[in-house]
């Protein structure tokens, strides 16, 4: 495939604006990636894309500006993300609208094409997943289809990029040839009604190209269109629509929405009768069905699901251990090597900055890259095979018990990776209350950024044999708490009826190795980039406030001068001074000011400084503990950090700390995204305040009980 990425277009370039529309999970994003070379999120379940994404590709002097849209079943708005797609298509800002359909379910997916045709857009049809349909024995006379429809039809295989070239060519052609408006034949009655309503529509509010679609919407009585028509003084058209509707309903005995939908399906049926030369001989889902017999089995379905989840986390932690050790050793060596540039005991600022700030801070975060990669590998596997949709099916009942929705489970699974995309993914929930509930409890799902915290703290405070169970308990605990809080919310602030659960289940698909690796790498790269930018910047800031200001005189020196202290050797003296430095610094003072608040939880000022950092980004906690300890002790490396933590805090503090960081104080980005997605500060603040309060209580109980016991 030829595409020139990143090439500056010459000024004579023509620009063609393209939108990719289609049913959910029809492969729009796969095609988008193939066309633009992007690495946007793809997954084998409906509702992966919830935002518009732009990309470009340049070919033969034409610059294609491509817009990937969320999937939608029809142009009738329903969920927030479907509305995005609908608005984009109706606004008509595109030269070409590529309708991407799943060739396995043509009779349904082509309905959207018929609707797009009515909006006056210039369509190009992409028969995607043609590989699967071909294998099942379905054959389509594409040439005949093009003639009948009057615009290009291209068979594509999105995830392999097959047909992408021909698709671009077709887009280019249809953008420059002023094609006649394609005709949709919806049967005598409906066509007559549309014609009659159109004839009465003026051009004041609705663009003439859109009139066909407007007529349909007025006919079915969609409020938004009625309102717009009324504002535009289109009384005649409204009256005509009401009359026609009444007439159709009384003549056919069907309600209007059923009648119109049936007519669209009728149009598609007629078209398919003409162009499908061979119908599928075998069920394309044969293998899928057999797998589902086991995986979604009534008896073993749920246990298997638990096992799969357990397996993913087990792999994340156990397989990740070895490479983690290597990176740890690497950073240790690096730290020592860099230290070696200065004479022993030197108090050079640069050295402290490099060794304590950069290597101690960012290194402490980077160590966990293998675990992050493995976790995302597991999630990618769930997403790309299609098991994720089954998980929603299996878990719906359980989620229902807690006032949630099977589909709420998908954002939660995404939340294991990162809370931010999880919160975005709640857009696929139809019901506003479900959406808010899911959003508010989502930070309780332990995200990838909390993994480093767990990896640091659990081995520090728990014996080898306890680590795995504690880890497991923390994860399940987070989910269970999220569910109970959801129930609480649904019983109090967000009371209301249950939303319906209707969800399409795609067949299993074998992800390509490339897709999985790319996805894992994409996420890994994000983590690296975050470590190299945000985390680095915050670590440096934390380093500055932890290192400065320096006291002019050390208490130790004074005491020694006054003879109140016995002789100290060089090293002891340095340690005393370093400890004083710490306490004297901004971070030290800040921490000690706030210390009384968290003292009942057993936390001291050092932990406080780490928690301040954690608010910026959770990983910073690990970085900051590294900074504090490497400055205070002239030692470094995560293993020694763990030993130091073990020395300074009892296990009850360790557990309280883990719980606090898991439950409380979602990071800055979470607060911001909750504000954006809920549309109100109050929800973001409720989330932050509520979770922090709960975390405080839980940690308080754990620490105080632990103190009593020991």
């Amino acid at each position: 495939m030829s595409r020139e990425l990143g090439e500056e277009p010459p000024s004579s370039l023509r620009i063609v604006r393209v939108a990719l529309a289609g049913n959910p999970n029809s492969g729009k994003t796969s095609l988008f990636n193939a066309l633009t070379g992007a690495n946007q999120h793809v997954g084998n379940y409906p509702g992966v894309t919830v935002e518009k994404r732009r990309g470009t590709c340049v070919r033969d002097g034409v610059r294609f500006e491509i817009l990937d849209l969320p999937g939608s079943y029809s142009l009738t708005s329903y969920t927030p993300e479907e509305r995005i797609a609908q608005e984009e298509i109706l606004e008509g800002n595109h030269d070409v609208v590529v309708v991407v359909v799943d060739s396995n379910t043509l009779n349904r997916s082509l309905v959207l094409l018929a609707q797009v045709m009515l909006t006056g857009a210039r369509p190009v049809l992409s028969l995607n997943m043609s590989d699967e349909a071909f294998r099942a024995g379905q054959r389509i006379d594409v040439d005949k289809m093009q003639v009948l429809l009057g615009f290009p039809v291209i068979e594509t295989v999105g995830h392999r990029g097959l047909g992408a070239d021909r698709l671009l060519e077709a887009i280019r052609k249809s953008a420059i040839t002023p094609a006649e408006r394609p005709r949709v034949v919806l049967g005598e009655r409906l066509d007559a009604a549309i014609l009659a309503i159109r004839a009465r529509l003026g051009t004041a509010v609705f663009a003439p190209a859109l009139h066909g679609w407007v007529a349909v919407k007025l006919l079915v009585g969609e409020q938004a269109f009625l309102d717009a028509a009324e504002r535009g003084q289109e009384e005649e058209a409204i009256r005509e629509a009401l009359q026609r509707r009444h007439q159709i309903e009384s003549e056919t005995g069907m309600d209007i929405s059923l009648f119109v939908t049936e007519r669209f399906f009728g149009f598609v049926d007629g078209l398919l009768k003409e162009v499908v030369t061979h119908r599928a001989r075998v069920d394309a889902r044969e293998l899928s069905n057999r797998i589902d017999k086991v995986l979604v089995n009534r008896v073993v379905g749920l246990p298997l699901f638990a096992l799969v989840m357990f397996g993913i986390f087990w792999v994340t932690f156990s397989v990740g251990e070895a490479p983690m050790g290597w990176i740890e050793a690497g950073f240790g060596a690096l730290g020592r090597w860099v230290s070696g540039w200065w004479p022993d005991g030197s108090s050079s600022v640069i050295r402290s900055l490099l060794v304590d700030g950069v290597i101690g801070g960012v290194g402490g975060v980077l160590v966990f890259l293998p675990n992050i990669l493995l976790l995302f590998l597991g999630l990618a596997f769930l997403e790309d095979t299609g098991y994720m949709a089954r998980a929603a099916f299996l878990m719906d009942r359980v989620m229902h018990l807690f006032g949630l929705h099977g589909k709420s489970f998908l954002p939660m699974l995404t939340g294991f990776g990162c809370t931010i995309p999880g919160i975005m993914a709640t857009r696929t929930l139809e019901n506003e209350r479900d959406r808010l509930t899911t959003m508010l409890v989502l930070p309780l799902i332990p995200c990838g950024a909390r993994l480093p915290i767990l990896m640091l703290l659990i081995p520090a405070f728990f014996a080898e044999s306890w680590r795995a169970p504690v880890l497991w308990a923390v994860y399940t605990g987070g989910i269970v708490l999220a569910l109970f809080l959801a129930l609480l919310l649904r019983r109090s602030l967000l009371r209301g009826e249950d939303a319906p659960f209707v969800m399409e289940l795609p067949p299993y698909r074998l992800p390509t190795l490339r897709a999985v690796v790319l996805k894992m790498w994409g996420r890994g790269w994000l983590y690296l980039r975050k470590a190299g930018t945000v985390i680095l910047a915050i670590s440096l800031l934390m380093w500055v406030i932890t290192a400065y200001p320096k006291p002019e005189q050390y208490q130790v020196d004074l005491e020694q001068a006054a003879g109140r202290l016995q002789e100290l050797d060089h090293e002891q003296l340095a340690a005393h001074r370093a400890a004083e430095d710490l306490r004297y610094s901004i971070a030290g003072r800040l921490g000690r000011t706030l210390e009384p608040i968290v003292a009942p939880l057993g936390f001291d000022w050092r932990i406080v400084t780490g928690m301040i950092g954690a608010f910026a980004a959770k990983e910073v906690f690990v970085a900051q503990m590294g900074i504090v300890y490497s400055m205070g002790e002239a030692t470094n490396g995560p293993e020694t950090l763990r030993a130091a933590l073990r020395r300074d805090y009892p296990p009850s503090v360790g557990l309280a700390l883990i719980l606090f960081l898991m439950i409380g104080a979602p990071c800055m980005a979470t607060v911001a995204i909750t504000r954006r997605e809920s549309g109100a500060w109050k929800w973001a603040l409720l989330q932050f305040g509520g979770l922090t309060a709960i975390a405080y209580l839980v940690s308080l109980v754990v620490y105080q009980v632990g103190r009593l016991v020991s």
Binding site: F393, R495, F501, V502
Partner: protein
């Protein structure tokens, strides 16, 4: 934010408005303020405050426009009110044997004064009378013959020599998708759901005459997994119940 529970604050008059709008929309295709005023036999000016209240409760779409529409919630509410009215009417006519018009009048007078609980119990009682298969319906016939219809009390024992056709119509409940066991197919007859769910089901291809098959049910029995024309869909029983079928 959660809207106030409409049922708790809906007064009798507002319920009547809701019902009127529903009937107008159903029969004429639209409801304008003046139609509503006419149907309720009030002045146009007194309609607006009521519509405003209903609109605040999220039951109707009304912002000083001429055309008034019901929201999904409003439609549900209206159906509930209507069903209640209908039921009371049937109680007075079928059980107590009053004339249709009188029964309807009584129903009107009574429906708003009953508490939700009393109404609910009455509904259940009525359902019990009409549906319970073990119920010996003769007593109702006897009741009619003895005290309401016949003045001649002594003849009442002679009227019923054996079982007779019950007067109350025991309509056969149509089958829904949920009645299919996994592996069985049925042909869709009707999709009864309302509003957005209905449109979603239609868009997914659940149309009359289409053959659906229940593939499996979730471990806990809900949701169920159906397939039609190559696509597979999960839906809760509650939604699936609205998809009526006839078994193949």
């Amino acid at each position: 934010m959660a809207p106030a529970d409409p049922t708790s604050t809906l007064t009798g008059a507002l319920e009547d408005y809701l019902e009127t709008i529903f009937l107008l929309v159903r029969d004429k295709g639209f409801a304008r303020v003046r139609d509503i005023a006419m149907a309720r036999e009030v002045k146009s000016g007194s309609v607006s405050p009521a519509l405003k209240r209903l609109s605040e409760m999220g039951l109707v779409n009304y912002e000083r426009r001429e055309y008034v529409g019901l929201t999904a919630e409003g439609e549900r509410e209206a159906r509930r009110v209507l069903a209640r009215h209908d039921l009371l009417g049937r109680f007075f006519s079928e059980i107590l044997g009053m004339s249709g018009e009188a029964a309807s009048r009584e129903a009107c007078a009574m429906e708003h004064s009953l508490s939700a609980e009393a109404m609910d119990r009455l509904v259940r009682f009525f359902e019990f009378l009409t549906i319970c298969p073990e119920m010996d319906l003769h007593w109702l016939e006897k009741f009619h013959c003895c005290t309401v219809v016949q003045e001649d009390v002594s003849s009442c024992t002679r009227v019923f020599p054996g079982p007779s056709k019950p007067r109350v119509d025991l309509r056969e409940e149509p089958k829904s998708v949920t009645d299919l066991v996994p592996g069985r197919e049925g042909r869709i007859r009707q999709v009864r759901a309302q509003g957005a769910v209905r449109q979603r089901l239609l868009d997914l291809g659940l149309l009359p005459e289409v053959v659906v098959r229940v593939e499996r049910v979730a471990p806990t029995g809900d949701p169920i997994w159906i397939s039609l024309q190559g696509s597979h869909i999960a839906l809760r029983r509650c939604e699936a119940e609205s998809v009526l079928i006839s078994e193949e």
